[in-house]
Symmetry: C2
Subunit: 406 residues, 2 copies
């Protein structure tokens, strides 16, 4: 079931064909973004089992909810790359694709007979994006990696922790494989920059998980190089601006408050019915508040603990203090702004019924948020791609299927 509904006004990447030879998160996330923007993505998977991520997380009857989103808007074909016939079919697919995104273990595609030169021979001017843990060159190129290692080496995991001395607990994961997602976004950028490029070296890109993470670390590296200062974690705070943190609420939630200018802090003190705090020498200006941040946060928490999250949220919003509840999945699902903009929407999935999807980002007019189809079954588009696109007849396809080639 992949009948595509036409999108009013069209999508920016309509007409672009992208081949994905990927698994798990980074490359498939990249092609999800490309597919959301209208590209025709053909995802190549091993016959029968498919991408292991299809089974990850909560599922019903063996169908993971996440896959409904992760595989959406893509065409899924099976192909056994260990068979000669499988590789011949891959050559045909390459010849008809504008770009390739892959995250096999480094060198695996080359060992299958598809190095960059061969790919560019099959499809001159193709854009090729390799996604790997450590990058394709250097002493660690061949080592296996995954998102959490990218976070650890890129510097993000170390900082996702409380102030040194506060707790013996380890630094936290942010709940998702963010190293993979960031690398995936860079892979999208690589494909689109490559398509625009007129430079001789502008069409083969190398995206490393570790490097994708490091690239977003702001002043962490240059400040160390210039001053020898190792940035330390600061918990929920921003160490140079107080108060900025998440505070506990009476109903067990959190509310984020960023009232770190003197004017905003004065308003916050009024909302807390503690106007005298604004004139207390301990808290009078930002340097003072940063020095006495433990005591300051205790004062604020004593107030927030007496109110539930929604009440705090509205009091703070009325006073125009930058703030928000810290949303759970339930809060996201019912948020008016997300729902109004179709950033939260129910999508028909023939396997799971209605599934709650996030909309596509970036938005190009409201109609661009329409999901065309949910994550397909393994090999669901074999007929469409192998017969309609490559011109195989049905008997041929059936024979390839019986022989385990597709």
């Amino acid at each position: 079931m992949s009948a595509s509904k036409p999108i009013a006004g069209g999508l920016p990447l309509e007409g672009l064909r992208v081949l994905e030879i990927g698994h798990y998160i980074a490359a498939p996330f990249a092609t999800r973004v490309l597919a959301d923007l209208g590209a025709e993505v053909i995802k190549v998977e091993p016959p029968v089992s498919g991408d292991p991520v299809r089974q990850w997380g909560l599922a019903r009857d063996g169908h993971a909810y996440w896959w409904s989103v992760h595989g959406r808007n893509k065409k899924c074909v099976t192909l056994n790359l260990k068979s000669k016939e499988g590789r011949a079919l891959l050559e045909e697919l390459v010849a008809r694709s504008d770009a390739l995104v892959e995250n096999l273990r480094p060198g695996q595609l080359r060992r299958l007979g598809f190095d960059d030169d061969r790919l560019l021979e099959l499809r001159p001017n193709m854009v090729i994006c390799h996604v790997s843990g450590y990058g394709l060159t250097g002493p660690l190129a061949d080592r296996a990696c995954f998102g959490a290692i990218g976070e650890a080496l890129g510097g993000l995991r170390y900082l996702s922790n409380h102030t040194p001395g506060t707790t013996d607990l380890p630094p936290v994961r942010v709940g998702v494989s963010i190293g993979d997602s960031i690398a995936g976004l860079y892979a999208v950028i690589a494909v689109l920059a490559g398509l625009w490029s007129r430079a001789p070296h502008g069409r083969v890109a190398d995206v490393a998980l570790t490097e994708a993470v490091l690239s977003i670390m702001e002043g962490v590296l240059p400040e160390y190089g210039g001053t020898g200062t190792v940035r330390e974690p600061s918990g929920g705070r921003i160490s140079t601006a107080a108060p900025t943190n998440a505070f506990p609420t009476a109903d067990g939630g959190w509310v984020l408050i960023a009232a770190n200018s003197d004017a905003l802090f004065r308003i916050l003190c009024k909302v807390m019915e503690r106007p005298e705090l604004a004139d207390d020498p301990q808290y009078r200006d930002n340097p003072a508040r940063c020095r006495n941040v433990d005591a300051l946060e205790a004062e604020i928490a004593a107030w927030t603990r007496r109110h539930d999250a929604k009440s705090l949220e509205s009091r703070l919003a009325e006073a125009d203090i930058p703030s928000s509840r810290v949303y759970t999945a339930a809060d996201i699902a019912e948020d008016l702004q997300f729902n109004t903009r179709k950033m939260v929407q129910w999508v028909d999935d023939p396997r799971l019924g209605k599934v709650l999807h996030p909309g596509s980002v970036p938005m190009f007019g409201a109609s661009s948020r329409q999901v065309r189809w949910a994550g397909p079954d393994v090999g669901e588009h074999n007929r469409e791609v192998y017969c309609d696109l490559l011109g195989l007849d049905e008997d041929h396809l059936n024979r390839l299927s019986s022989n385990g080639v597709v």
Copy 2:
């Protein structure tokens, strides 16, 4: 000092001109990525003060180290958009740019006389990317926002925490304004997708911080929609695979260990000189290990606490167990892989001397990592842009400068 060294082989976005009317992190991070890839980025700032981010973080003589990276490879011009002459110059800049990235408060550009229609009149087929907190439509469109609020509403902050009941400490910030960086990457995608687009609605993009964060939340939303399950934080763990966590080392660091298959766990037990643990019914398979994860992690931590981080790292690597030290800035700076690939490099900065920069991502051949120039001074490129590009004579520019227009 912005003499550009030619890059061997060229950069993919050479020939693309992008105008930035931005400040703080999201839009300027987007244009950093575009400039790293070879685009000619013209950043418009208020005269004299410039972008406040120029002063953020550790600095020497008023020059922040972060700015050296955040502003690199861009041309910085000043322009007072409140003056009529300033707006006339902006019209000229728009007419000569392929794309515009802006993150003024929603509607501010329109109130200055530059709504999308006017921009497209000045430069037909321009790609316009608006970056905002909540997006340009919906009931909250006008509300100010910033990265931390994007994290809170997108669902990331709630999960950046320990397992419920473990601690009263608040969820953590990941140490950087990750909501801004993710939105910035989507803004790059918006610009490049828009340039490729032939669709009528394919050239004006709306990127919201809150939505950029939500888009990477994997199964969190669909699992809630399908089962009513609210995803809870799991600290450093992955709740469905054990052991996977960061463990403390004798020298006060952390080492990340992901030995969550039965085979890897058996090897880990040998490396720990506790082979009997692999056959203990408490830990025999992944479901058992997940049930008894507290006890299991205590066993592993008792071992890691007796060794320093580098020793653990080499023992685990020899055994081929997916693992890594959790890097600080100092570890990143000396890492061989990063240095080999020029992902860590010293860049000449006329204000700060040599500054340690991360390389550009994605990599298009090693030469693409060469930084052309460090973050410029306020208005450093006024003459180049206003005289050489727009054709103003020097007297005219001097007069504009005296009048506070530039």
